[in-house]
Symmetry: C3
Subunit: 154 residues, 3 copies
């Protein structure tokens, strides 16, 4: 119980920062993918954005239904729902003094599941691959949340 | 001012971890509710997901307008907008050394409001019940944010 | 390396709390803007909410396509995608012991970009103003995430 603080002197927090950094950076890259595909396909949500398409001599009007862009956005929203809650629960979990090897196993499973979830979503890999990756990540985050609630109840 | 760190040795942080864990776990359960209802009603957002419905001998195509699923998703997005910002503001707020009894009152009001907000949303309870629960939670989170900004300004 | 903890005794954390508090409060105000415009224009997403419009003697039915409300909601979702990830990455980044003047510069650029992003979005300012503010904020958050991953790898 010597070092449970949220700082890099705590080896468990440092490992959490690594995996948390990876999944957050992955989430942010969805924004970049959306931007690239909006410009490449001239698919914009706002009237004023269509000027970008017009500068490329394309005839564009606001559209919210392009399959490629909407798929990336659904993947991004799924990341917000799962990655953000994982990092928040993880901060509380690391402070609760968990067993370090269990904790690192959780972080690795979650990170692996979310990276493969994105591959399955964007690559349109047949189900149930994406469902399993989604379920794996969610299960880990839920186990961590239950552990936090249990430890914080006493 | 002895114990303001983000660790379980700080009694206020421990209480914050409890309420934060509860509202985050509640937010995650929305994912599970969405999945259950997508499968139960064969309502899928992606073409590759329809294989799940076809395996149950149902004729399905991607649909984004099922009222039950969309209601759960709106409730989930509302949680992301409110619960996630509350937990983030709460981490900054706990570190700012607030009055513990005020802080715990805030956490309890927020948690109560958000649990009842979900009941009102999914149960389609007549307004203004949901609006009041939404406003109560948002007011508490805003008061905490203003307190953080004020204390961090000096 | 004396004071890298997540508490107000750490001057860098205190500055992070200020900028984090500002962008989180800004994000929350999007909820208030949505509510005001839903009531002002009688644009509601749920059947039970229409009672609010009916109490004002207006004939309303659920609608998900009002341009004003949807613009505010897109701006809000963009905040969730960017502000929430920034604050999460920022907590990890502050704990990693960064150069304080670089760190504060990052926080200021991000906060400035996101405030101007909202002005550009709601004011329908011609592009590429909003795109540049979006890109500036995302670049800063990505640089912080890469720094966290790099430092946590050793």
């Amino acid at each position: 119980m010597a070092d449970e603080g949220l700082n890099f002197a705590n080896p468990l927090f440092k490992q959490f920062a690594f995996y948390g950094g990876v999944v957050l950076a992955k989430t942010m890259t969805m924004s970049i993918l959306t931007s690239i595909n909006r410009i490449r396909k001239s698919v914009f949500a706002n009237p004023e954005d269509c000027a970008i398409g017009k500068a490329m001599n394309r005839d564009v009007k606001p559209t919210l239904t392009d399959p490629t862009v909407e798929r990336i956005r659904r993947c991004h929203l799924n990341d917000l729902e799962n990655v953000v809650t994982f990092v928040l629960v993880g901060l509380l979990y690391v402070s609760s003094g968990p067993d370090p090897s269990t904790a690192v196993t959780y972080f690795r499973i979650f990170t692996g599941c979310r990276l493969l979830h994105t591959v399955a979503y964007l690559g349109q890999v047949p189900q149930p691959s994406r469902a399993l990756m989604f379920g794996g990540g969610l299960t880990v985050a839920m186990l961590m949340a239950v552990d936090v609630i249990r430890k914080a109840s006493f």
